[in-house]
């Protein structure tokens, strides 16, 4: 399983792997919003946590269809399905690899990009914490969506439409926790709700995604 993780990370980082695409998109969103909203510092710092969360979520969405599609096209997925690694393990590892090359860089970059939107002092901490807890759920839910649409040509549109509603609870609780934390209020409740969504996704979705993959491989 470690071999699979190493391979997926290597493929992502090498030419054409799409590493950095999400990060660049996130940077573009964080840079453009102040131009669109206007230079009023008070408004920007109020909307910053929400915008950063939406930006991170959309950046995550960009690379989802790569999770299984490339392996499906070149036949690796058939071979992985017959390999000793259980399909659930393959899904979990691929979601983890996606998080390591997409969610984690976004989480690390978010506090810095927050400066572009006048994110106030405790906000840097809160945006980091909420994204750290929330982005694994985005990768796992995304892997499930990718497993459902793996056989489809140009399945990216359907994938986005399938995954978007599933992302909404994570976004609501994540952005709420970040906003509350930034404003100095107690953010424990939304934070725990989001942590619950992440834990539930990681526990259940590998099984659902593996079942979807098995059907799509037939």
């Amino acid at each position: 399983m470690i071999a699979l993780l190493v391979r997926d990370m290597r493929l992502a980082i090498r030419a054409g792997g799409g590493f950095g695409l999400g990060l660049a998109f996130f940077l573009i969103v964080s840079t453009l919003v102040p131009f669109g909203v206007g230079p009023e510092a008070a408004i920007l710092s109020r909307i910053a946590p929400g915008i950063l969360w939406v930006g991170a979520l959309l950046a995550c969405l960009l690379s989802l269809d790569r999770i299984f599609q490339l392996d499906f096209e070149d036949g690796s997925l058939d071979l992985l399905a017959t390999a000793p690694i259980p399909m659930e393990g393959t899904v979990a590892i691929k979601a983890l690899a996606h998080w390591l090359v997409t969610g984690l860089p976004l989480t690390l970059a978010a506090p810095a990009f927050g400066a572009l939107m006048n994110l106030q002092s405790p906000g840097h901490y809160w945006i980091f914490v909420t994204l750290l807890i929330g982005t694994p759920a985005l990768s796992m839910i995304g892997a499930f969506g990718a497993a459902l649409t793996v056989g489809l040509k140009r399945g990216g549109l359907l994938l986005s439409l399938l995954v978007l509603p599933l992302y909404i609870p994570t976004l609501i609780f994540g952005a709420e926790a970040a906003t509350r934390g930034t404003a100095g209020l107690s953010a424990l409740t939304p934070l725990l709700m989001m942590a619950g969504i992440t834990a539930g996704s990681i526990a259940l979705l590998p099984f659902a995604a593996a079942a979807a993959l098995r059907i799509n491989l037939r």
Binding site: I2, A3, L4, R7, R10, L11, R14, A15, G16, G17, D71, E73, D74, G75, S76, D78, L79, L80, A81, T82, A83, P84, I85, L217, R218
Partner: protein, 213 residues
């Protein structure tokens, strides 16, 4: 280590392709699967490999004993030959890839990205993967596509060595590999198109034949 197939019926896209297939593949034997294009060889192999469920009958073989060699080689263009092989070796818990590299004459190519290989070299790399799975039953779907005569010889040698070591192979191919092998013709097991009663179902057969011819 023996694969016994009893009364197996397989379907593609919900349409029965083969019905009542029976054969036994035992250790040390090679079985050549013959049948015209679109007759269901790939579907049969995929079913035996456990990638799709049969609609009837059973396969008595441990899935952990089977490795499947498909049309697609499952190679990553940006990884080198060695990285590609090492990945499949470690997935299957095998430490060494030397024998596979030498067996398919890839020695000079180990540091080349797989994307830069020619079609025949890619195929050789795809076949070398079989050796690093360490699994006794090989199910191969037209393994010699795009191989030159010398490479077909290498492949035949690899199969010979594999069965001599107690392995077995079921190979769908249209050419003569020069192996001591039994031939299994799937023609008699083809699901009869007449079974489909409605014209709509007959159309589906026509589409199917077209798609796979």
């Amino acid at each position: 280590m023996e694969m016994k197939v009893e009364n197996l019926s397989v379907a593609r896209g919900g349409v029965p392709v083969l019905e009542g297939v029976n054969f036994t593949l035992s250790a040390g034997h090679v079985l050549i699967l013959r049948g015209p294009n679109g007759s269901g060889k790939t579907t049969l192999l995929r079913t035996l490999a456990g990638l799709q469920p049969p609609i009837a009958g059973q396969v008595s073989a441990d899935p952990e004993h089977i490795t499947y060699g498909a049309h697609a080689d499952g190679l990553k263009a940006t990884l080198t030959v060695e990285e590609n092989l090492r990945f499949w070796a470690s997935v299957h818990g095998i430490g060494r890839i030397d024998a596979a590299v030498e067996g398919f004459n890839l020695t000079g190519l180990t540091h080349r990205p797989a994307g830069n290989l020619s079609a025949g070299q890619k195929r050789r790399l795809g076949l070398a993967r079989l050796l690093v799975t360490g699994r006794p039953i090989w199910l191969l779907d037209e393994p010699t596509v795009s191989l030159d005569a010398a490479s077909v010889g290498l492949f035949a040698d690899a199969v010979r060595a594999h069965v001599a070591g107690g392995g077995a192979a079921l190979i769908a191919t249209h050419i003569d590999l020069g192996l001591k092998a039994d031939t299994f013709d799937i023609g008699p097991f083809r699901a009869n198109g007449e079974r489909a009663t409605s014209s709509q179902q007959r159309d589906r057969y026509a589409d199917f034949d077209e798609a796979f011819s």
